[in-house]
């Protein structure tokens, strides 16, 4: 079946997916694109924002829009609300004694799903956090001597609440690194907000009757395809320059790692696909750099946080926009 999937069709479908999600989550096209980018790059995403901005609905809609094997037709979607008393077991599952078979069998936890919404991840204890992040990275769970692979398409949408920091365990930089992209969901603009108020019934209805525009196979195909997206060496060079500049700037205490660079490239490629292209452009670079790098860097102060990455990106964009490449002599 995978052989039958055409790249052009898949690209069209991913646009449809974006459109589809946008019928429910209004005015968040960019965020939707970032989420899909993380998905196609085989990564995970961290969303940071106040409650009530549509994070959960977003995750739900995404899960519903992809045709899979569940009863509802969508992919398997699980949601965990992280609390301080949550245990790793609650995530990955546990061995329970089967009275009939007289043996311990593994009861799979909520991690065995396609789309996982990890709500307020910073409220859970570091132990739980690391368990989740471990799974995200390894795509498998090891219990005792047995290794259980996770679903082939496993995508975590973690959320973080920037207010009410008391009694939370903020993710350390090393952990944040596991998330390919961190986005700030943000409020919609005034007009869209009015539109939402006028149509909230219809929007809820849209969620009920969401179309499934993309199959899970197509997602997997696109995930493979993302690796084959053409990336010009000048863009690679730009990525290298940006990574290096984050290490050189005195305003940034901790620069980006080489692993970040690789993630960066993966995200760029996936983002190109999300935008219906099979090549990476400077536009992709400009749009995605803050989402990919910002949470990996430790800044000297607030002022530096606001400025330094933008300055580095500006310089590189300036260089790229002045390049005369691709012309025939």
């Amino acid at each position: 079946m995978e052989q039958d999937i055409q790249i052009d069709e898949a690209l069209t479908n991913i646009q449809k997916l974006v459109d589809n999600i946008e019928t429910v989550i209004r005015g968040k096209r960019k965020q939707i694109q970032f989420i899909l980018t993380a998905l196609l790059a085989k990564g995970h995403i961290l969303m940071e924002d106040n409650p009530g901005t549509g994070k959960t609905v977003m995750a739900k809609t995404l899960a519903q829009s992809i045709s899979g094997r569940t009863n509802e037709g969508g992919v398997n979607f699980k949601r965990i609300q992280f609390t301080p008393d949550l245990l790793p077991m609650d995530l990955i599952g546990s061995h329970i004694f089967d009275d009939v078979k007289k043996e311990f069998i593994f009861k799979k936890g909520p991690l065995f799903c396609n789309v996982l919404l990890a709500d307020e991840i910073n409220r859970a204890s570091p132990k739980v956090q690391s368990a989740l992040l471990e799974c995200m990275a390894e795509h498998q769970i090891t219990m005792g001597e047995t290794t259980y692979p996770l679903e082939k398409m496993f995508f975590t949408i973690a959320t973080q609440n920037p207010v009410e920091m008391e009694g939370t365990y903020p993710l350390p930089a090393a952990q944040l690194d596991r998330f390919f992209i961190k986005i700030i969901f943000g409020y919609v603009d005034e007009e869209t907000e009015l539109d939402i108020y006028n149509n909230y019934l219809g929007i809820a209805n849209n969620l009920e009757h969401i179309q499934q525009v993309l199959s899970m196979e197509e997602i997997l195909f696109l995930q493979d395809e993302a690796e084959r997206v053409f990336i010009h060496e000048e863009i690679v060079k730009a990525v290298r320059n940006i990574i290096w500049d984050t290490r050189r700037t005195s305003d940034i205490v901790l620069g980006a790692s080489t692993r970040s660079g690789i993630t960066f490239l993966k995200c760029l490629k996936a983002f190109a696909l999300v935008n219906g292209r099979t090549f990476v452009t400077e536009d992709d670079l400009q749009q995605i750099t803050p989402a990919v790098l910002d949470h990996r860097l430790i800044y000297r102060n607030k002022d530096a946080k606001a400025k330094s990455l933008a300055a580095i990106l500006d310089k590189e964009m300036d260089r790229l926009s002045k390049l005369r490449i691709g012309m025939r002599a």
Partner: protein, 872 residues
């Protein structure tokens, strides 16, 4: 309390180093100059500079913080006021108090200036432009007040300010746009500044080269050479050419004052003697005639269309040595037959322009002569003139020959002869009308009445002339001279009032132009044909060299000539002697000795010059041999030995290396070897040259200017004669600045023309896409749609939303061209070909013309496009 910062320390440091420091240096320089120009008693420029520096540094640091200008400035003034009051209360002497308050005033002025400048540099974007203009205007005012203007002074006054102006505008903008967070920020600034400085040096150098002549001519015009203080309506009887030589002018104004100097202009030997054959009879040397009067400007002018033109005006520098130029029509036109003879004069020029021909009236012959080697440093060139001179003419005609019986007798004899000419009947009507013309109105009628009153007893024209002369030299009822000589007669209160009437009826003071002008109209009102002659008056001071006369610049003169039927034009001078100035005796030098007899003179063009072997080959066009003009049917080459030859040009001694192939030269030989080689009757140029020794020995070579050089020089000289006042300097500097500004404003549009042309002319889709994209981005940016931090796609989408265009689709194609490895699809290629013109048209239609024009005039938009403003 924490006060917010507007600029980071980095930026403030950059402002201090790159803006304040040069400003302070310039301020010090200007203060030094101002102190010198105004000859301030105590030269405190260093201290004053310190005030300014304190002000500017304090303001830049201060306004790096979030302070408001109005409040802080008011506070500053309050501080001044309190300090001033406080100073007043200090118990010190009255003089000290005054001294202190002056010092304090200077301090507060300079400190405030520095403070304002600092504020401007820190906060205001357009301040640098205002500041530059202000400094330039200041400098122009300072320069206009200086007494001595030289090219160097002009350059040293303007160059620093100009350089500073460009520098400060550029650097301020650079600092404003700089990104402090950038790692290599220092390097960025250094790079830009280095580029700018090298460009500035080139531009300045080019400007200096281009305007050097202007600067020099300004120096000539108002420099110290004319001596004394610069004075508004100063007039000179001669004009100074660019090369420093003197010529007579083609107009004569009557102005408030006359400038004179004592430099030697030329020396002449005149073979004119009284009938006894021993006593020299000096004659005035005429350069030109003023026959026309411009009533509007009250200026006497030359007229090229004067009837019966007897003015011979050859250009001696154009005539080859020993070759003569003759114009006998001058003799015919004088209509003078009685008491005339041919007299010759040798003129040796010192300051007189090489092309100037000056001789006593009615000259008709000009033959350039070489100057003897030992006099070459003193005399630049020489020529012989021949004149149709009247026996009755003499420079003594005005100077009282009292005591000298011979001269008195001669005077009387002349007057008797001239009394025979009583009637102007039968003269050409055109001639009479022209030379008796005078304007008729109330003012000139007054002159007419005066003329009739003066000459009521005189019967003949010469008696009328004598009556007029006696009127000028007469005394009033108190026994004082009625008219006085003055170089500074002043001008009538009303600018439009007749200066002649003012001279004749009120002031009665003036220099030669006034006397000549007044006499002319007195004579013409009586119907006596007359004209003004200009040139040099001749003073016989030489007792040891009879016939030699020395002419200094202050001998430049104007007088009248009267026409007597049969006798022709006779000089009369009515200018009264200058009683006030003690005429210091001018030293007479040694006159140049008689020239050798040239055996051969060849005129032609140099064909080849060998400066080592001292050989020159010239193409001879005409030849004088033993004073015989040898017929030359065709030019012929002549090999010459120039090892002992001296090379001269009009401006003085020259070098052999000055002779280039094609230079017009005249070769002269006095060599003994030629003495015995005779030319036959049948010899022509070719056959004669064969007889000469090879190489032919040459003693003297004169370089003739060819026509092109001549024209160029004449052009230069004509520009030099135009009056240049300081307003012109202002104009020149304003023009340079104005040109720069116009170029600056036109620059965005010129760049657009270039990019637009490129976008339209390319056909290959990938290249075309690039140029279209660049041109479109430039156009959008220029009309005010600035791409802040948008990605290319966001920017394109924003443009599309505004104009309903398809820029985004095109931008995508362009990005594909740039970054993809897949070829363009046909649809995409079509888009590239058809996108551009409709898009630009659409943008044009959507933005009103005024807004587009405004955008295109804004150079900052362009800067933004190319340097991309870093948002801080």
């Amino acid at each position: 309390m924490q006060i917010g910062r507007i600029h980071s320390w980095k930026k403030v440091t950059a402002q201090l180093l790159l803006l304040a420091l040069p400003t302070v240096i310039l301020a010090l320089y200007l203060l030094l100059n101002v102190n010198q120009y105004y000859s301030v008693l105590q030269n405190n420029w260093l201290e004053q500079g310190l005030y300014f520096t304190t002000g500017i540094v304090a303001a830049i640091v201060f306004y790096g913080y979030r302070f408001r200008f109005t409040t802080t400035a008011l506070l500053l003034f309050l501080t001044y006021f309190i300090a001033y009051k406080f100073l007043g209360r200090l118990n010190i002497g009255e003089f000290d108090a005054f001294f202190f308050s002056v010092r304090f005033l200077v301090f507060s002025l300079l400190f405030s200036a520095g403070w304002l400048a600092g504020y401007g540099f820190s906060r205001s974007r357009y301040f640098t432009i205002l500041w530059s203009v202000f400094l330039l205007v200041m400098q122009i005012i300072v320069v206009s007040k200086t007494a001595e203007i030289t090219a160097n002074a002009l350059i040293s006054a303007f160059a620093p300010v100009l350089v500073y102006a460009f520098y400060i505008i550029y650097t301020a903008e650079l600092i404003r746009n700089m990104n402090e967070d950038e790692a290599a920020f220092g390097w960025f600034i250094t790079k830009r500044l280095a580029g700018f400085i090298s460009l500035a040096v080139i531009v300045l150098f080019a400007l200096l080269l281009i305007f050097q002549k202007e600067f020099n001519s300004i120096e000539q015009d108002w420099g110290g050479s004319q001596g004394g203080k610069k004075n508004g309506g100063k007039e000179s009887m001669t004009k100074q050419n660019k090369d420093g030589s003197l010529s007579n002018k083609d107009q004569m104004k009557m102005t408030g004052s006359l400038s004179k100097d004592k430099r030697l202009v030329f020396v002449a030997k005149l073979d004119n003697f009284f009938p006894d054959g021993v006593t020299p009879n000096p004659l005035y040397f005429t350069s030109t005639y003023y026959t026309k009067f411009d009533t509007l400007t009250q200026t006497f002018e030359t007229d090229t269309s004067l009837p019966f033109n007897d003015l011979f005006t050859p250009d001696p520098s154009k005539i080859p040595l020993y070759f003569a130029k003759t114009d006998t029509s001058a003799i015919t036109n004088t209509m003078a037959t009685l008491n005339r003879k041919v007299v010759s004069a040798d003129i040796y020029k010192v300051l007189l322009s090489p092309k100037e021909y000056i001789a006593p009236s009615t000259a008709f012959f000009c033959q350039p002569l070489p100057v003897e080697n030992e006099y070459k440093n003193q005399f630049k060139s020489a020529y012989r003139a021949k004149m149709w001179v009247s026996d009755l003419n003499s420079a003594y005609f005005i100077y009282n020959p009292a005591g000298n019986k011979q001269l008195e007798a001669f005077q009387e004899k002349r007057f008797d002869l001239l009394r025979k000419a009583t009637s102007y009947q039968g003269l050409d009507k055109k001639f009479m009308d022209y030379y008796t013309f005078m304007p008729s109105n109330e003012e000139y009628n007054r002159i007419r009445i005066l003329a009739e009153q003066i000459t009521k007893d005189a019967k003949t024209p010469v008696d009328k002339m004598i009556a007029i002369r006696n009127y000028f030299t007469g005394k009033d009822q108190f026994g004082q001279p009625l008219f006085k000589y003055s170089d500074n007669p002043g001008i009538p209160g009303l600018p439009s009032a007749s200066k002649l009437n003012y001279f004749l009826f009120e002031n009665r003071k003036g220099y030669c132009a006034y006397y000549a002008g007044a006499t002319l109209f007195l004579l013409r009102s009586l119907g006596i044909p007359s004209r003004i002659a200009a040139g040099f008056l001749t003073v016989d001071r030489s007792s040891k060299n009879p016939g030699w006369y020395w002419f200094y610049a202050d001998q430049a003169h104007a007088w009248v000539q009267l026409y007597f039927p049969g006798f022709g034009w006779i000089d009369f001078d009515t200018t009264v002697p200058d009683q006030n100035t003690q005429q210091s005796p001018q030293p007479d030098g040694t006159p140049p000795m008689n020239t050798q007899q040239a055996l051969m003179v060849a005129d032609g063009q140099a064909v080849s010059v060998d400066t080592v072997a001292k050989r020159v080959i010239m193409k001879v066009k005409s030849l004088l041999y033993h004073d015989e003009n040898i017929p030359a049917p065709a030019p012929k080459d002549l090999l010459m030995d120039v090892s002992i030859a001296s090379v001269t040009r009009d401006t003085g001694a020259g070098k052999l290396s000055d002779i280039k192939t094609g230079t017009n030269i005249v070769a002269v030989s006095y060599a003994e070897a030629l003495k015995n080689i005779m030319a036959n009757e049948t010899d022509n140029l070719a056959s004669l040259l064969v007889k000469l020794p090879k190489p032919a020995p040459i003693d003297e070579i004169k370089i003739m200017e060819n026509e092109e050089q001549k024209k160029e020089r004449q052009k230069q000289e004509s520009t030099a004669t135009k009056p240049i006042d300081w307003v012109k300097v202002l104009w020149i500097s304003l023009l340079v600045i104005g040109g720069f500004i116009v170029l600056l404003f036109a620059l965005p549009w010129l760049i657009w023309l270039y990019l637009n042309g490129k976008a339209k002319s390319k056909t290959e889709p990938r290249t075309k896409a690039y140029h279209i994209y660049t041109a479109s981005m430039y156009y959008l940016n220029q009309v005010g749609i600035i791409r802040e931090n948008q990605s290319p796609q966001q920017y394109a989408e924003a443009a599309d939303r505004r104009f309903g265009s398809n820029f985004n689709s095109f931008a995508n194609v362009y990005q594909k061209v740039k970054y993809s490895n897949t070829p363009l699809r046909p649809a995409e290629e079509t888009l590239v070909q058809n996108f551009y013109s409709p898009f630009i048209q659409r943008v044009k239609n959507n933005i009103p013309f005024k807004e587009r024009l405004g955008g295109f005039l804004n150079i900052y938009n362009t800067l933004h496009f190319f340097t991309k403003t870093k948002n801080s």
